[in-house]
């Protein structure tokens, strides 16, 4: 049953491909697949370095998107003989932060043309340094937005309506009757303040509007009137105003020097004591120690975080022990279709860069 679902997903993605390639995907008969594989190996394709194919890396379905365009070598195989493999590699496909892009690795890849990241955040990459080696950096904006916006809303709702606590009470062996005190807070018609109104922030606004939420947003630049009206969003030039008025503060910014520690003691103290902080950006956007204090003292009601610093948190971190914190382990883009779209975009970027063409999603340093 699961295979059929993957097959449908892969088929959808391959629709715009050439007829011959469509044929390859449509026919999954094992022997034909092997014949095609041999043919593909014999063609002159560039080499790409990846982490691995398997549970800790790429699923087969994702590798199948890469293979028509690149010979793949896993990091483990690469390390067996870096002198042999290194000079062949023109693309590094970066998934979940692996392989780690360090100077020592880059030094072994003299032919490298591109580091193609899976995901939109590239705060883990020193872009100016990589560029100085003549290597491009690309990311995957756009395709991650729906899934990430969905997680933002999932965390907001689960926190507001105490879904996790509710489940734990419902299944607790000691529960004898339905509790009345599992009271949540309103979502409908409450005020949602979005910090960072890029692609993801805007999708969040769209979803919030469906709940008749009042939408405020803060961004480096203001959106068009048309954009604002479409989601009923009001611009807050001053972030403090957004913090004071919001029932839910949603962080959807990139991590940059400007946004590091954006939410600290002062910002948390401006928030309502009934407010919830939701973070789908990066852990470092929030001063975590300040957050712990704010949650312990009731300065804010609760926090729901898909991201922390580090990931995962040390097992004795105070955030893990607070009852009013919901944490998910960076699952923002974790759906199969999103992953497949990300890999397709990585491949498109890498193919263009290797050919010396403009990559669709090249990241330039500021």
């Amino acid at each position: 049953m699961a295979c059929l679902c993957y097959l449908r997903c892969v088929r959808k993605l391959w629709a715009p491909a050439q007829a011959s390639q469509r044929l390859k995907v449509a026919n999954l008969h094992r022997s034909v697949h092997q014949l095609q594989h041999k043919k593909v190996m014999a063609e002159e394709k560039p080499w790409a370095l990846i982490s691995e194919v398997g549970e800790q890396g790429y699923l087969e379905e994702m590798a199948d998107i890469i293979k028509p365009h690149f010979h793949i070598i896993s990091h483990k195989d690469f390390q067996q003989n870096p002198q042999l493999h290194g000079p062949k590699i023109q693309a590094l496909l970066l998934w979940n932060g692996f392989p780690v892009v360090e100077p020592s690795l880059l030094g072994l890849l003299p032919s490298l043309k591109v580091v193609a990241n899976g995901g939109v955040g590239i705060d883990h990459l020193d872009v100016p340094y990589i560029n100085s080696l003549g290597v491009k950096v690309t990311n995957t904006p756009g395709v991650v937005s729906n899934a990430t916006a969905d997680i933002g809303m999932a965390l907001l709702l689960a926190s507001a309506r105490k879904v996790v606590e509710g489940h734990q009470v419902a299944v607790d062996p000691k529960t004898t009757h339905i509790p009345q005190c599992l009271m949540g807070v309103e979502v409908s018609e409450s005020t949602l303040g979005i910090i960072g109104m890029g692609h993801i922030g805007y999708k969040i606004a769209q979803r919030g509007k469906g709940f008749d939420m009042k939408i405020l947003y803060h961004n480096r630049s203001r959106r068009s009137v048309e954009d604002e009206q479409a989601v009923g969003a009001t611009y807050c030039e001053n972030m403090d105003d957004l913090l004071k008025e919001s029932d839910f503060v949603m962080l959807a910014v990139n991590l940059t020097p400007e946004t590091t520690g954006l939410i600290s003691h002062r910002q948390l103290s401006l928030m309502k004591p009934t407010a919830t902080l939701v973070n789908v950006s990066r852990g470092l956007v929030v001063d975590q120690d300040a957050l712990v204090k704010a949650l312990q003292s009731g300065t804010i009601r609760a926090a729901a975080l898909d991201v922390t610093y580090p990931e995962p948190l040390p097992r004795d971190h105070p955030l893990l022990g607070l009852p009013n914190v919901l944490i998910t382990p960076h699952v923002g883009t974790n759906t199969l279709t999103t992953s497949l779209k990300m890999v397709q975009q990585m491949v498109d970027n890498a193919v263009a860069a290797v050919k010396g063409l403009t990559a669709p999603n090249e990241v330039k340093p500021k």
């Binding site: 549970e55 899934a147 879904v163 509790p179 979502v187 409908s188």
Partner: protein
């Protein structure tokens, strides 16, 4: 004058089933109040005085034995939309009206329906447990969920609550289908991008998320049984915010065990709470909340206001807002 105010019978103040203090204040503006326990101490004293029974979380139960002790009773005002726990015909037969509080709970309940849908689809509970687990050393890569954006949402029961769910699903760019006794207006359908499915089977076949938002009646009891679950996609999720009895629970257990459907998220079961050894608890793909659909601060207050309004009207012999007639 305080003494001129009519008497209302309630279950209790506080505790697990009682009115909250804030709610009591709303009631006391119009009524003198006696709690069930106090009433039982001396039914002959309070019985003839009570003109309204304000039912909160199904208590006090409107059993014949109790009703017989309330000769002056004019109205049973029930908090919530569902009246499946009341024998409306029997109560009307005693010359007593019944009222409920429709509409006011529909947004909070729709919010919870989406909360359950998203939590199930994106595996929020598992994620939280992994994030907190003392053994967790790295971020897991296999905690993969299913898409909500762009998926097909099938709503069974398109009253106030169902319509609110459609609106929310529309915000997620979902493809919204609905099945209802009656078709909604074109305007309503367009507002939330909803497509009518005359045939429930068609909705079940096409949906990635099936949300039950019907009232419990004789027609909707056991509406979702093994046949209906078989029609659903193996990747689909069932969300129930109606009543437990709308679903054949044994069939649901089988369907979840065998992978006939992917998962279920339930705010309601039968009974509530479930017996502690119920098979639903042993399944990893079930999310259950303890009937918290209306549990927000303002919803409770508004419900009590409506109950009081209906009760006051009934006692004055005026038309009763939100009166429930037998079908």
């Amino acid at each position: 004058m305080e003494q001129d105010k009519p008497w209302a019978l309630i279950s209790e103040v506080g505790g697990d089933c009682g009115l909250l203090e804030d709610h009591l204040d709303i009631v006391k503006r119009h009524f003198q109040v006696v709690c069930y326990q106090d009433f039982l101490q001396n039914p002959e004293l309070h019985g003839p005085q009570v003109q309204a029974l304000l039912m909160w979380r199904y208590y006090p139960e409107a059993q014949p034995a109790l009703l017989r002790m309330l000769p002056s009773l004019k109205v049973v005002s029930s908090g919530g939309t569902g009246v499946d726990h009341l024998d409306v015909s029997f109560i009307n037969g005693l010359g007593v009206k019944v009222s409920n509080t429709p509409g006011v709970v529909s947004r909070a309940t729709a919010d919870l329906a989406m909360g359950l849908l998203l939590a199930s689809a994106r595996r929020i509970l598992e994620g939280h447990l992994v994030a907190r687990d003392p053994e967790t050393r790295r971020i897991p890569l296999n905690l993969v969920g299913t898409d909500v954006s762009g998926a097909t949402l099938g709503i069974v029961g398109m009253g106030d609550t169902g319509f609110n769910i459609a609106q929310r699903g529309h915000g997620f760019e979902m493809d919204v289908l609905y099945h209802n006794r009656n078709r909604r207006s074109l305007e309503d359908e367009q507002a939330v991008g909803a497509t009518f499915c005359q045939n429930l089977d068609e909705l079940l076949r096409r949906s990635d998320f099936v949300v039950l938002a019907v009232r419990l009646t004789s027609e909707t009891t056991g509406l979702i049984g093994s046949r209906e679950l078989e029609l659903m996609k193996p990747t689909a999720t069932l969300v129930n915010i109606s009543r437990g009895q709308v679903v054949d629970q044994d069939a649901l257990v089988q369907a979840l065990r065998s992978g006939t459907i992917r998962a279920a998220a339930l705010d309601v079961t039968h009974p509530e709470p479930l017996p502690r050894d119920h098979p639903l608890f042993s399944l990893p793909n079930v999310l259950i909340t303890p009937h918290v659909g209306a549990n927000t601060p303002s919803t409770g207050g508004r419900m009590v206001e409506m109950m009081v309004e209906s009760a006051v009207a009934a006692i004055r012999g005026l038309p009763v807002p939100n009166e429930v007639k037998p079908n």
